[in-house]
């Protein structure tokens, strides 16, 4: 029997497969399709202090082996998430869930995290720092080590739950930002968020997305994500959650060899609603074929010797 269990900042996951935020709602849509308790955990829809409708439509565009999205963090706001979404989720998911948090100021991050800190269902906080900082000309928190560290410190001050900082790949040195988050007290790093992209409609000669630009995800970005996970693993001593274009059991293993302690699956859920269940089902067979007894043992395996 192969062993799929991994440890994520002190909590054991039955397997390393985690649906990524924004591709799995608050879980219960997928619970109508399959028993989502087969998942390691999942990262729920990016939640902000205030309710947000998000961007105008079209919010979605297709690319070769991937897609762009400019949803714009649509969510009902943290209070409704706690009072309505999480109780609904509790009925169909009996494991700790990962709370994904966004904000537009350090104070907003801290406020949202302080409320989610009190929710027993929440096992980890995953803090998305790709959002623009309204107090800093709209520059993303995730592009400077100082801003990333500032959010990390503010969040760590209001929670005892493990905090994973989710990094943007749209930076020159992602390892430096990961290191700054670690030094500011982060318990782990999640990466990568989407790559900034664009498509133009040949008929209208205008951007396909109403927002102009959007986040590029899907299997096309896997090699970029893998490279960044590899670099961040070398730069930090805290666990890394790898994501970006993962769509198979083989991809999960590759991510773990690069240094991921757990692996998120994003866009694949949108085209194949059973993607995570299928990947979990295929992992034991792929492990046996590759002579892997325990997934724990392969984390960062590509770095050794």
């Amino acid at each position: 029997m192969v062993d799929l269990r991994v440890d994520l900042a002190g909590i054991t996951l039955d397997n390393p497969v985690i649906p990524a935020s924004g591709t799995f709602g608050y879980g219960y849509e997928f619970a109508e399709l399959y028993d989502i308790n087969c998942l390691g955990t999942f990262s729920f829809k990016g939640t902000t202090k205030e309710p947000r409708f998000g961007n105008p439509t079209p919010r979605i565009a297709e690319c070769s082996s991937g897609m762009l999205n400019a949803v714009g963090l649509q969510n009902p706001g943290v209070e409704k998430v706690i009072s309505e979404e999480l109780p609904k989720l509790k009925k169909c998911f009996h494991k700790p869930v990962m709370a994904n948090i966004s904000g537009f100021s350090v104070e907003e991050y801290a406020y949202t995290c302080s409320l989610l800190d009190k929710v027993e269902q929440v096992g980890w906080l995953e803090v998305n720092i790709s959002c623009p900082n309204v107090h800093c000309g709209g520059m993303s928190f995730g592009v400077s080590p100082e801003a990333a560290a500032g959010v990390t410190k503010a969040v760590k001050a209001v929670t005892k739950k493990p905090v994973f900082m989710k990094l943007s790949p749209n930076v020159t040195d992602i390892a430096a930002i990961a290191k700054a988050c670690q030094d500011a007290g982060a318990d782990g790093i999640s990466l990568i968020n989407t790559l900034l992209g664009m498509r133009i409609d040949l008929k209208t000669k205008k951007p396909l997305l109403a927002n102009g630009t959007g986040g590029f995800s899907g299997s096309a970005i896997f090699p970029v994500a893998l490279r960044m996970v590899y670099q961040v693993y070398e730069a930090v001593d805290i666990p890394v959650i790898g994501m970006g274009g993962v769509s198979s059991a083989e991809d999960v293993i590759e991510m773990m060899l690069a240094g991921a302690a757990a692996v998120e699956v994003g866009a694949a859920n949108l085209v194949e609603p059973f993607a995570c269940r299928n990947i979990i089902g295929q992992l034991p067979g792929v492990m046996e074929k590759l002579g892997i007894q325990s997934l724990k043992d392969i984390i960062g395996g590509a770095h050794h010797g």
Binding site: F24, M67, G218, L270
Partner: protein, 242 residues
Amino acid sequence: MKQVLYSIAENRLLAPDVWEMRLNGDTSAQTAPGQFVNIRLDGFFLRRPLSVCDWDASGLTIIYKVVGKGTAAMSQMTPGQTLDVLCGLGNGFDVDRCGARTAVIGGGAGVPPMYGLAKKLLEAGKTPIALLGFNTAGEVFYEEKFRELGIETVVTTVDGSYGAKGFVTDALPESFDFYCACGPLPMLKAVYSAAKTSGLLSFEERMGCGFGACMGCSCKTKYGNKRICKDGPVLEKEEIIW
């Protein structure tokens, strides 16, 4: 929603760039006219959402317009090939809400789901009146299929080359107590303004997943934010914010 592997039974050209595809397989997830399927195509990342025209226990019919590379690839498919399809998506038209005399209004690529709706209205003992709008005579399809149902059927063309000249709103039936409409946004707006009765309107939007997960197709309504794919594509007249 159900994931079904369908076998293509037929794929034929109905009008320029408009194709009818018959798919054989499990249709148990398809429960209302106006629902749609989301089709996986080799070489394309996102599935293609297409409304269901008609269905029975053994399969379903979709009609699609070639508008891009994905639908162009579909038009080259041949009987016997299989398709990975998410079936039974969206709310569809609520036949119980429709009136005894319901105007069934379709425009162009919005015509297909109205055929299945007309059939279900007949089964429910109601009288559908079909109003089908096209740009020009060469684009007209499915008129005979509606007539075969034995229902009053009016065709309009914008250029007047076939049927009544003008838009569907120029040919609204004299008496109807409810309407259902599917077509391009300007047509839906025009019907919304012209028809005095209550009604149901089916909307289109670029979708990511098609089953409510990604928030790619959200819209604001008087009843709150809705996802066209999951809470729609059919919205009540009373809730629409243009």
